[in-house]
């Protein structure tokens, strides 16, 4: 079976893949996923109830969540396919031509691109689902934080409990640890449902409005829902001024029972009517069918965790969900259609429109006259202050109709569609335009760097890193930092805490993303120091909880592990593969020493020297493995303080080789032995007390102050 992105990101539930390697381009995937277009799912309560009855899933939104991620992967369908290759030859033959009223799904030749190594991530589209827009706005965080450190810590604790439960000391841990970091950390904090006023990655692009045809819901229901949606702007209290339902594409989803031909016909008629009278596209989904129960059932795996909110939900409901194979295929098909036939064209149209109406006029106005532009922006500075609009809470933002925000949207959407070139150019020009609005320009600077790393990953040179990308990120960080000092003047009510934290969350996200993207570059020797410096800054400056911090410590160790000069990479890989055998030989040599009968034979001296010939002298100094081991040791120490014994055990296992060879592992006066002893005591205690009590202990630890 292929090892897919989903498997990696949810490795805890696919432990049989524990010995695979980290998927290539993981950083790009994480970013793509984190900024993937959001689809808000609104459904009637009747429909949700019907789904609950049939499939034991709470709502349509919950159902669709299982299908978020890379749309073209279809990995849940592929899983079954592999076991039933004889019956089903390929995905594409299964497009249900008779029942589907859809325009025929375009077979893009990518739908089978489940293999991680073939897919060009610039061509695949990731999507996310969210609750109905109204609900999202209602839960909007007033502090403008992307995420909050405290809940991050709590969720991490819960996740670690789950790991403790699902694994043992012998579980292959290396990949799992990286997977935890990537899925939980990188993705969770960079992709949230919180609507930021400074960027629009989390603003829904599509609003899916679903009704249940089988229950007789009809045109009127659709119209009402649509009107509700369109009026959200005015009807919702505190509707964010930086958002507008006009920039979201409403799509109607008609769910019907495929058993009844008349329902299908109703759908088709309704589709025409809705398009004609409401100017909205429809998609029909055969959500029920008599043959479904007899169809092979496929276990849905947990969707890639794309936000902390999903994490909460998942941790509360770790239940098994199965769906009929055919239905899964149908859902994939309608999503394909939704994304490629409706959403992407819509986004492209919008981008083209904004480009024409906002970007081009600006360009021609200042065409080639940088000086003039500078002059203009300087004088326009006073104007710009007025561009901000106060919302109901008294916060000042660019409104959704302001050209600044539309430009930003243009850039963000270009990012979503992997048009990194446009994105970069737009962010770049925005950073100049928004210089006097640090919160806005910081984010632009950040994404300027990210778009560069995403788009030019293969051609990034040392010089670019040093002269272009790193300065951008540094500037973004310092601008974020400045926000804390700028803000009090505009809003004196805020306490320091409130000001610093929201900005910090952006800063943390920026550094995490940047570090991951740097690590994904091929010349890790040059790039890791940057990644390390960002991560260390997070440790020093961001108020992460204890366990979250340890995750960073471990990531630092990974960074050092990756710091290998490209010129000796082949050697380093070779030594990793051979570690076990040479080590044994050197051990036996050592024993030889002990056995040497007469102390007077001087051979021993020269033996020592001789053994050094085995060493790889070329690689010396071109790696940082010992640094990596040290940071792992520090992590072990910290995990022990948090009583996370599984993590301690894994850390110790990974550094055992390094330290036992040189005698540091056996010394009672050193930290390593002490941690080992603590671990032993803890393990015996666990056995005595039983698992139940252990769970209590770990929960208790969460609360106890450190």
């Amino acid at each position: 079976m292929n090892f897919s992105y989903e498997h990696y990101m949810n490795l805890l539930f696919h432990l049989d893949y524990g010995k695979e390697t980290v998927p290539s381009e993981i950083a790009k995937r994480i970013v793509s996923n984190a900024i993937s277009p959001v689809i808000a799912v609104t459904s009637t309560s009747e429909l949700d109830h019907h789904i609950l009855e049939t499939y034991n899933i709470d709502s349509l939104y919950m159902l669709l969540r299982f299908f978020s991620g890379c749309v073209s992967d279809r990995d849940q369908a592929n899983e079954l396919e592999k076991s039933q290759k004889d019956k089903i030859s390929s995905n594409n033959t299964l497009t249900l031509p008779t029942t589907s009223p859809l325009p025929k799904v375009r077979t893009r030749g990518r739908s089978r691109s489940n293999s991680l190594f073939q897919r060009d991530s610039t061509q695949s589209q990731y999507i996310r689902f969210t609750k109905p827009l109204g609900d999202v706005i209602a839960t909007k965080n007033a502090n403008d934080m992307l995420f909050d450190y405290h809940s991050l810590e709590i969720y991490l604790q819960n996740y670690l409990d789950l790991i403790q439960k699902n694994t043992d000391d012998n579980t292959p841990y290396e990949l799992l640890k990286k997977s935890i970091y990537h899925s939980f950390f990188s993705l969770a904090i960079s992709s949230t449902t919180i609507l930021s006023p400074y960027e629009c990655f989390n603003h829904p692009v599509v609003s899916l409005i679903a009704v249940d045809i089988s229950l007789g819901q009809n045109y009127d229901d659709v119209r009402d829902l649509l009107v509700d949606f369109k009026n959200l702007n005015s009807s919702t209290h505190n509707f964010p001024i930086f958002m507008n339902t006009n920039d979201m594409l409403p799509v109607v989803l008609l769910c019907y029972d495929d058993q009844f031909i008349e329902q299908f016909e109703t759908c088709q008629a309704l589709t025409k009517k809705i398009k004609k009278q409401l100017f909205v596209e429809c998609i029909s989904l055969p959500l029920w069918k008599d043959s479904y129960p007899s169809d092979p059932q496929v276990h849905l795996h947990q969707p890639v965790m794309s936000s902390l909110e999903e994490m909460i939900y998942f941790l509360n409901q770790p239940k098994e969900v199965t769906l009929p194979y055919e239905l899964i295929q149908s859902i994939y098909n309608i999503l394909d259609s939704l994304v490629y036939n409706l959403m992407i064209p819509f986004m492209k149209r919008k981008i083209a429109f904004w480009d024409e109406t906002i970007l081009q006029p600006r360009k021609s106005l200042f065409h080639g006259a940088k000086f003039l532009k500078k002059f203009m922006t300087k004088t326009a500075l006073t104007h710009q202050e007025n561009l901000l609009t106060k919302d109901a809470q008294g916060n000042e933002y660019f409104t959704s109709a302001s050209s600044e925000f539309l430009m930003r949207k243009l850039a963000d959407w270009s990012m979503m569609l992997s048009d990194f070139k446009t994105a970069y150019a737009t962010y770049e020009s925005l950073t100049h335009d928004l210089e006097s609005f640090p919160k806005y320009s910081a984010s632009c600077l950040e994404w300027c760097a990210v778009s560069l790393l995403m788009g030019a990953q293969n051609i990034v040179t040392v010089k670019m890193l040093k002269n272009d990308i790193n300065p951008l990120i540094e500037k973004a960080l310092s601008t974020y930092e400045n926000c804390a000092t700028v803000l009090p003047e505009t809003d004196k009510r805020n306490t320091d805490e409130l000001i610093v934290v929201p900005v910090r969350s952006y800063e943390t996200r920026c550094m995490i993303l940047a570090s991951e993207l740097f690590l994904s570059l091929s010349d890790t020797w040059t790039s890791t120091p940057y990644a390390i410096s960002y991560l260390e800054t997070i440790l020093v400056e961001c108020k992460l909880g204890a366990c979250s911090q340890i995750m960073i410590w471990e990531r630092l160790s990974d960074c050092y592990e990756l710091r290998v000069d490209p010129r000796i990479k082949h050697k380093a890989a070779g030594t990793i593969a051979n570690t076990s055998s040479p080590k044994k030989s050197s051990e036996s040599d050592m024993q030889g020493h002990v056995m040497t009968p007469s102390p007077l034979t001087k051979e021993d001296v020269s033996n020592d020297a001789n053994n050094d010939t085995d060493q790889d002298i070329v690689s010396k100094g071109f790696t940082r493995k010992r640094k990596a081991a040290f940071f792992r040791l520090m992590a072990a120490k910290k995990w022990a303080e948090q009583k996370r014994w599984r993590q301690v055990s894994w850390c110790l296992q990974s550094i055992d080789d390094t330290y036992s060879k040189i005698g540091l592992a056996d010394r009672d006066d050193l930290i390593l032995k002490k941690i080992q002893n603590k671990l032993k005591t803890a393990e015996t205690e666990t056995i005595d007390a039983g698992a139940e009590k252990n769970a209590e202990v770990s929960h208790h630890e969460v609360d106890s102050p450190n």
Binding site: W525, T526, P529, Y530, I532, S533, E536, T537, L539, V540, E541, A546, Q549, R563, K602, D604, V605, D608, A609, N611, D612, K620, G621, F622, T623, R624, K625, R626, K627, A629, F630, F631, L633, M634, K637, K638, E641, Y659, K661, I662, G663, L664, R667, D669, L670, I671, L672, K674, N706
Partner: protein, 218 residues
């Protein structure tokens, strides 16, 4: 500022270790307990960088001559900045060597090679590849801050405490004299390469040298 000194053999094995507490009035102040447990590992972590410098033409280019270098690397993330510098200077380094082809810089004493929070790590290499390494503790109140700094949760608070000022000349002299003692040890045909040096005579002399050159008193 207490110091921890070790001689590391060709297989990363420590063959001699000593801690030099700093003298404050009549009391001597050593490392806090949790650092004592950690010191050998901190040293070990620095060996990668030392080996990198070992084979560079100008391992301490820009380091030893400009005094400001040691004072500035204060906050914790300059750790990695240092590494960036290393890799850069190595690139620039060879070119310079190629063109001039005269190297008068000495390359036994490497100066400051690494640091971990407030601790600085200096190194010296013998001709046979023995590594003399030293951790220099932080100045100021060592009782809690330096230790709590590393083990505690609040890394942020104290991490930016400036690193130790290192007197290069005194330290170099110390290393050279220990080098001499080491050679004398090695001249004993009954001493085998990479064996731990356990004789009190050696220890006594190293400590005397430390008192003479590097131990500070307040």
């Amino acid at each position: 500022m207490p110091q921890y000194f070790a001689i590391i053999g060709t297989r990363d094995n420590p063959i001699y270790e000593a801690e030099f507490p700093s003298i404050s009035g009549k009391n001597s102040i050593g490392f806090p307990r949790d650092l004592k447990e950690l010191n050998p590992f901190i040293l070990h972590a620095a060996l990668d960088i030392i080996e990198d410098l070992q084979w560079q033409m100008n391992p301490n280019s820009g380091g030893v001559t400009t005094g400001g270098y040691f004072g500035t690397g204060g906050n914790s993330n300059s750790n990695s900045n240092l590494s960036v510098n290393n890799s850069n200077s190595s690139g620039v380094g060879f070119l310079r060597n190629r063109s001039n082809n005269n190297n008068n810089m000495e390359n036994c004493y490497l100066g400051k090679v690494d640091h971990f929070y407030g601790l600085s790590i200096t190194a010296y290499l013998t001709y046979g590849g023995m590594k003399f390494v030293m951790i220099h503790g932080t100045t100021g109140d060592l009782g809690g801050s330096a230790g709590g700094n590393i083990s505690g949760d609040d890394v942020g608070g104290n991490a930016s405490k400036s690193a130790v000022q290192i007197d290069d000349n005194a330290l170099k002299l110390f290393y050279q004299e220990v080098h001499e003692l080491y050679i004398k040890t090695l001249m004993n045909p009954f001493y085998r390469l990479n064996d731990p040096i356990t004789t009190p005579a050696f220890d006594k002399r190293v400590r005397a040298l430390a008192r003479k050159h590097i131990v500070t008193s307040k």
